[in-house]
């Protein structure tokens, strides 16, 4: 959902983004580990109940209720074309902001697990297509897909 622009000051957001530069939330989506920029992560919660939208594409699982607000839920594994992994023991919904800073919208990603907060140096990132998939970087011996949530609203 689109948040009112006045909820957070633009400078506050910039500061946040600056502080959180390079810091990512590591999540498991299918077979892949994905790093979501921590600045875009609003909350990690246990997987929310999703109400399907008839006629929606496969990536859009449906709508959920989060904090009294309707929240579109996307399947992160399908977004990044990941094959299904082992059955998740504790699936989560990661509530994120997507889109450019001037028009952020809040959506939720379903992931198999939320792992940890990690710091990924920019020089460690091997650039990807430059869109939603920003690139890849080794983290803890595993190749992690670095995602660019600001590009989500533009690219898909």
């Amino acid at each position: 959902m689109a948040e009112p622009v006045a909820s957070t000051s633009g400078n506050g957001n910039d500061n946040r983004r600056a502080r959180l530069e390079g810091t990512h939330l590591l999540v498991r989506a299918g077979e892949y580990a994905c790093a979501l920029p921590l600045a875009a992560v609003r909350r990690v919660v246990r997987a929310l109940a999703v109400h399907p939208l008839p006629g929606a594409a496969g990536e859009l699982e449906g709508l959920a209720e989060f904090g009294g607000e309707p929240l579109p839920i996307l399947n992160l594994a399908r977004l990044i074309n990941a094959s299904p992994g082992a059955n998740p023991s504790y699936p989560v919904t990661v509530v994120v902001w997507v889109g450019p800073p001037e028009a952020r919208e809040t959506i939720g990603f379903t992931a198999d697990a939320a792992l940890e907060v990690v710091h990924v140096p920019a020089d460690a990132i091997v650039a990807g297509d430059g869109g939603f998939l920003q690139g890849e970087a080794p983290v803890g011996g595993e190749v992690v897909r670095i995602l660019n949530l600001e590009a989500l609203g533009r690219d898909l």
Partner: protein, 111 residues
Amino acid sequence: MSVPHAPGFLLLRRAGGVWGIANAAVSGLARQNGGYRIATGGGALAADEILGVVESLAVRPAALVMRRFWPEATAGLAVHGALPVVMVDPSRPPAALRFEDGEGETDEGRD
């Protein structure tokens, strides 16, 4: 039956989703084929279940990202209780609310 032209929204369930439509847009409501037929100015909508009428809903515009994966026209999103509600634009109802082939025959009274 006639829906009183009152403020508020009519909540209904169709194809697993919860939908809302402004009462002002509803001109009639009838049972049909085990479901409901909601007459609007532009036509009619199908419903599997009528959840009720609410006085108000905090309607938000739907996220653009959402539209990328669901291009149907909508009047916004809201939440009622714990249920997310998709608001219906009566002039451009989503395909899920249209009648399927042969579903359009009424079996009860008119508005």
